[in-house]
């Protein structure tokens, strides 16, 4: 790398500072309409504007969004730098709506002020009514991207990515109350000996609060002379409220870090297991409590 490149770079970064200070996701971050968020799963990603939030089902209704200059077509609405915290402006497609699960949402990019959000929600009736003919001073089809142009490629990619993200749906377990949990196939002292775990760890396992990784489940199955499925079936599904809390974007960064090459869903379940194991009692849970327990797990691990 030459000095010239570095000098030019230095001048450019000075000329173009970020519109917003990057800050990590806060533990109290909520999902709100008006938020521009990154949505990502695997290597599919798109920036989206949240129009509506369905808190119970952990889903959001979104419009696709592009920050890329020049990317617009006859169906997009351009929000200029005055209406949005991003200095380069933003294009939204108000009539393209998609429903995404919370689990694909990641960090907050920016927040739209209410009046901008309202304009978008009521589109196209809020469109400035322009007659089809102009006075000729500007081209009529100026906003249309040519097939094969950079803008056309970007729009196709954005819409295809949103389609891909729509397909990501976590399975949510609804526990029927009073369902009998199958008992763990090994007794306490045998389990302690077989796996070499402490008594409290063994208790968690037997109560079904801690699920065994596949290797350990096999060891236990062998010792108890039962199929592995009998061992894994003894683990309780995570409480609904805990599952729901784990879907919040505030945990996304942590879950992505922990998953590495594995499926995120697995990493999410695992974090849930750890929080579940911390719970002293089953009753009196609730989202806020689970949030604290998950936090406690993370704090304990980093200690």
């Amino acid at each position: 790398m030459t000095n010239e490149i570095e000098d030019r770079w230095a001048a450019l970064v000075a000329q173009f500072p970020p519109s917003l200070t990057p800050r990590p996701a806060g533990i109290d971050d909520e999902v709100h309409p008006g938020q521009l968020r990154e949505a990502i799963w695997g290597d599919v990603e798109a920036t989206v504007l949240i129009i509506d939030v369905d808190d119970e089902n952990a889903e959001v209704t979104v419009n696709p969004v592009s920050l890329e200059p020049g990317v617009a077509d006859e169906h997009s609405l351009l929000l200029a730098a005055e209406s949005v915290p991003l200095r380069g402006g933003v294009a939204v497609w108000p009539q393209v709506t998609a429903i995404l699960s919370f689990v694909v949402l990641d960090g907050l990019v920016a927040e739209l002020p209410d009046d901008a959000l309202n304009v978008i929600r009521r589109w196209p009736s809020t469109a400035r009514s322009e007659p089809d003919h102009t006075d000729g001073s500007r081209p009529r089809f100026g906003a249309e991207p040519l097939p094969g142009s950079g803008a056309a490629l970007a729009i196709d990619d954005l819409l295809d990515s949103v389609d891909g993200l729509v397909a990501i749906r976590p399975t949510r377990h609804h526990r029927s109350p009073g369902a009998r949990k199958p008992s763990f196939p090994l007794g306490l002292s045998d389990l302690i000996m077989t796996l070499g775990v402490t008594q409290s760890e063994a208790m968690s396992i037997i109560r079904g609060k801690r699920a065994l990784p596949p290797g350990q489940a096999e060891i236990v199955a062998h010792a108890a002379n039962v199929p592995v499925a009998d061992v894994t079936a003894a683990a309780l599904p995570l409480p609904e409220e805990l599952e729901r809390e784990l879907m919040e974007p505030r945990w996304r960064t942590v879950i992505r870090q922990r998953s590495g090459a594995r499926d995120e869903t697995e990493a999410r379940e695992e974090l849930g297991r750890s929080a579940f194991a911390l719970a002293a009692r089953d009753k009196g849970a609730g989202r806020e409590l689970w949030r604290q327990r998950i936090l406690a797990v993370l704090v304990a691990e980093s200690a």
């Binding site: 960090g107 000729g136 094969g148 950079g150």
Partner: protein
Amino acid sequence: MGATLIRDEAGATGQLGPSALAMLLRVFEDELHRFPGLASIETADDLALEFFADRGTSWVDTVLAAPDDDTAARKTRKWARNWLVDLVRTTPYGALRDRLEKRLQRSSLFRRSSVAHNWCLADGEDTDRLVSFDTLYATASEVYVEVTVDAGGRVVLGRGQLEEMLRRVLEAGGRLHIADLTYLCARRFPSTLETGDWLTSRNVTAEMEEAEDTQEAHDVVFATATQVADSRVAQTIFDQLTPTQRLALRYLQEPNELATYLGVGRSTAYSQIKQAKARLLELAGDRARSMQVMTDVVALILDDRPAVPSE
């Protein structure tokens, strides 16, 4: 999820740091391979910094919106590709606009409107007409225009025929901005924007421009009106189509099938179909002829059993 050096550095200094620079240069180093004509005259590093200067804060914000370095690189790669695609198309688009203006100027059928950059019929009214782009495109598609390639590799639009097409378009549109006419022609004749060698369009000389208007074009590659019924026409058209275009015509009515075969999303598949149809129209000469040869062309495609393109 991987490293977050780019974001970390920005958090510390309030600006993009060395990891972002390294990523940008690496992306352009990779992407430039797709544009060999460009690579012969510009360096990746120069283009990377030009890109930054052009995209400015929008690119910075997008990079920092990414949750990790890999995603930031992926976004940058997409932006870089789109930017480079436009870069190599700018010159032919500008050249098309210039050539179009010359043809309008030299024909007695047209005159400049009182509104700057607009054109209207010489014997027509200098006013706008309420008309959609689709109507203008349909009008343009009905007129037979022969598309040939001259000795210099430049696409030539049939003498007299293009003028007739423009006449009908302006009849429908009243007066139109040159940018709209250029856009219309680029849509109607997609090959005018294709440059195998980006340098070719820069080397267009005044003599070649004259030649277009005063001589018959050499190297007539495509069919003339008398050969329309000939099945050799379908073969000629078939030979000019790319594998992707053939696949798109094969699955004209089934964009989801096409999406699967190409390994792309629905939107991209729709766009491919649209482009393939425009190319077929251009090759056949006009809409009526493209409809006539369509069956034969698709039959050839089915016989050919093309492999799925690897692009």
